[in-house]
């Protein structure tokens, strides 16, 4: 019990910290691509602390508060189910479908909170977010199907273990296709260009986020950090072999090494997304939908069909 609690606490802190670092990395890398210096890597943490310590907060009602809490809670829930190297609180129940759903539901909380403010920008943002979700769901679904059919199991942990003997998923052609599609989907999940339509800074004033400030925004930053961590972690686990290291005799060393391996893989995923985000302009929402329903879907479907053979 205590061990579980400690593990959970560790995962939570680690995920939050690494997530904030990722946010910093994104900002730095983007800045460097733009030939700017960029903020220090810990800048997001500072921002969040500032937000959380605001002396005056406003609310638009109970749902406005609860939605935020729900988003953070659900994100925490999600991260618990994803195997983190050899640490994992609920990885035995880390079902592919469950995790996919859990990664989506924080958005529901944010939507609820944003919409309850009654701000029209939030409404448009919610609409765009949902259409993006709709757009990415098809390739995402096929990618998950491909994985499940290839490995014959839905357990993320078992998939990770299978990769230790069979090699990474992306070295199998059907799953390579799935991984490409999934990576394109990640772009939208991160909310990066060219699929940052739902936030669209400068266009609809951050969309769903427009009304948030103070501690609400702070909580959302934390949620964002954890979600960023969870999404990259999930990808690294299911496509890039996860982080299982058995080279050392000490299990603590193995764990640390595993975390390190995972971190490298996560950063790689992140960087790809950042590079893509930095060079593409924003799509319109129908362009995005048509895009996702075309190439990524075809690729992922092909992968799924091949995997099922």
């Amino acid at each position: 019990m205590i061990e579980t609690a400690l593990k959970a606490l560790f995962i939570l802190l680690y995920a939050t910290f690494v997530g904030f670092m990722f946010m910093g990395i994104i900002r730095i890398v983007t800045a460097r691509i733009h030939r700017r210096v960029g903020p220090p890597i810990y800048q997001p943490i500072l921002d969040t602390i500032k937000l959380l310590s605001k002396k005056s907060n406003i609310t638009h009602g109970l749902i406005y508060d609860f939605g935020i809490l729900y988003a953070v809670g659900a994100t925490i829930l999600a991260v618990m189910f994803i195997p983190l190297g050899s640490i994992g609180v609920l990885r035995a129940y880390g079902d592919l479908i469950l995790i996919t759903f859990l990664l989506e539901i924080p958005m529901l909380g944010i939507m609820f909170a944003a919409m309850s403010s009654g701000n029209p920008y939030a409404g448009i943002g919610a609409q765009r977010a949902l259409l993006t979700l709709l757009a990415i769901q098809v390739p995402l679904g096929f990618a998950i199907v491909a994985l499940a059919e290839f490995y014959g199991t839905f357990s993320t942990y078992e998939i990770v273990m299978a990769q230790q003997t069979m090699g990474w998923s992306i070295f199998h052609f059907p799953l390579l296709l799935a991984a490409i599609a999934y990576d394109l989907v990640l772009q939208a999940m991160f909310g990066k260009e060219p699929f940052d339509i739902m936030i669209a800074p400068g266009e609809i004033s951050l969309g769903p986020m427009v009304e948030f400030g103070g501690k609400h925004m702070g909580l959302l930053q934390i949620q964002h950090a954890i979600a960023l961590f969870a999404e990259t972690l999930f990808f690294a686990n299911i496509f890039l072999g996860g982080g299982v290291v058995t080279a050392f005799s000490s299990s603590i060393l193995n764990t640390i090494a595993g975390l390190a391996v995972l971190l490298v893989k996560q950063v790689a995923v992140l960087l790809i997304a950042t590079f893509m985000g930095a060079i593409f302009p924003r799509f319109t929402i129908d362009q995005a939908a048509k895009f996702y329903w075309k190439w990524p879907t075809i690729i992922a479907a092909l992968g799924a069909v091949l995997a099922s053979l």
Binding site: L52, S53, K54, S56, N57, I58, T59, H60, G61, I63, D65, I68, Y70, V72, G73, I76, L77, M80, L90, A92, Y93, D95, L96, I97, L98, F101, I105, L108, M111, F112, S116, S117, G118, N119, P120, Y121, G123, Q127, L130, L131, L134, V138, L140, G141, F142, I144, V145, A148, E149, F154, S155, V210, G214, G218, I222, D286, A301, A304, V305, S308
Partner: protein
Amino acid sequence: MNELLIIIFAPLLGGVLAWALNVRGIRELLGVAGAAVPLAYLVKLYSELDASGQLSHSIDFAGFTFSFSLTHLTWVFAMIAGVVGLASTIAMVSTSRDGYEWLFALMSLTGAYGVFLSFDLLGFFIFWELMTVGSFMMVLKYSRSAGLKYFVLSVVGAFAMFLAIAKIYALSGSFAFPDVANAVYYAMGRGDLALVFGLFLVAFGVKAGMFPLHVWAPDAYSETNQSYTAMFSGVLSKTGVYGFILIYMLIGYRLMVEFGAFRSAPKFGYIIAFLGGLTIIVGGLLAALQEDIRKLFAYSSISQIGYILVAFGVGTSLSIEAGIYHAISHALFKGLFFLIVATIIYRTGKTTFADMGGLAEKMPFTFAMAFVAILSLAGIPPMAGFVSKWLIFEAVISQNLPILGGMVFFGSAIGFVYLIRFTYAVWFGQRPTDLDDTKDAPLPLAVAMAILAIPNIVFGIAPGLVVKELNKIFGGEIVTSPTLWELNLGFGRYNGLLILVWLIVGLLIAAVIYFLGAPVRKVPVTDTYQSGNPVTMEYNLTIRRNFFLPLKEALAFWLRISFDKLYRDIGAWVEDFAEVMRNYVYNGNVQSYAWYLALILLILAMWGV
């Protein structure tokens, strides 16, 4: 009198009495009693059923033998009818104003019970018709065109079924399910078999709302008493679903033998599953584009039934069990949704999104119920809706059916999409000033909603409860359930309690951070960021129409294809044809009529010689 017959006929009796007496107060009492009695009997019979495995009763009537049977399968479906039927009738206490509605609502409930409990094809057909008529009358009162569309499609379905039944009867000389299954297995030819399957597919497809036979549902579901729609969508559509199980029970083996399998799914099942998948997508996309709250849920209902069809089509024990589970959760959350719609309409008198907004503050209880329903339909763990969807996903994908897998995935996203639309437009945003003194749900509606909301949560956290019953249907551990909270499929696990606990943990952590921060101050809807414009309530701050306009534009090409229009065209064509033919044949000239006689004489002469 036999208990099964009481279960079946109690609602009808209650309805007839309520209609005949038609005294306010007594009418409602009789109606609710009519729906409550069968439920009580079902609960009472549970232990008996558990002991014996099957309770049967048969009577000779009108020269036929009718048999009724309560098995684990039919008990589950009858319970759906019982619970949702009861909730729906309780809600009708608030929304229904005359005996007419009580009569026909309860008549259709009797029909549904009869369909579930019948153990012979003729009884099945008769109750099917009874149910159709009852529900049709409910619709006809509100809209003639919606009613007739519903009725015509239903009757086409029912007659298709009848033809199939007659074919089977001509072969077996009996209607009883065991005899029928035997006769079909040993004696039916390939062509007849395909025909019977096709006819059943149409029959049950219509009632379940399967694409492309779904077109009646949006109109019929919306053009009636919304309390009744809870039963309409929750129970009556389940009879179609149950019909698909009957296909398996009666002709499934033979179809499998005769036509083989596609991958691991039987070929005939794959047809069902594929149509089910299309149903999910079409229903869901159209739901997102509706401007009327009732229609949104009508299409949503269609879409959700698609899941059940996909599950049934795959044809493994696991997938069928998953389908039944989804039938249960669909009945629960969709019943709940329609009661919510009923409450909204009852309190505001409005049905379109454009006229609503900001009701969450005014109707907190209803909103809480809506929240449960939304989470359940959207498939958010740990709700009943998630468990059943999860089971379907696993069942479908584990059978190596990637296309179907993609379809169900798409469906879950589209669920989010239209639900948020509903949430946004009804509960949040700016409230039109004429809704400022809207009250919360009246007591009967509140009770009815609570009846349906509680199982939505319970069956999600403790899926073992349901699975234990469903396993009995198949007589084996299809889904193992080590504890009440946990499901284990071998290749996937789910634990409702753990999710709940950790969600609470997550919420607590978030709450701690939240409460560490400075206190909040409430501001009105006008006090928001509006690009620097000052805003008063005069301005419209909510997107009231065409919320998903970009989706509509992206789908423009596909939206032009309408089966509804096709059927209407066929209908119009038949009417025109009838008109022309009538005027030519019965042209009023007696000499032409004499020629007809001569013509027949000529035919007789040619045939005779």
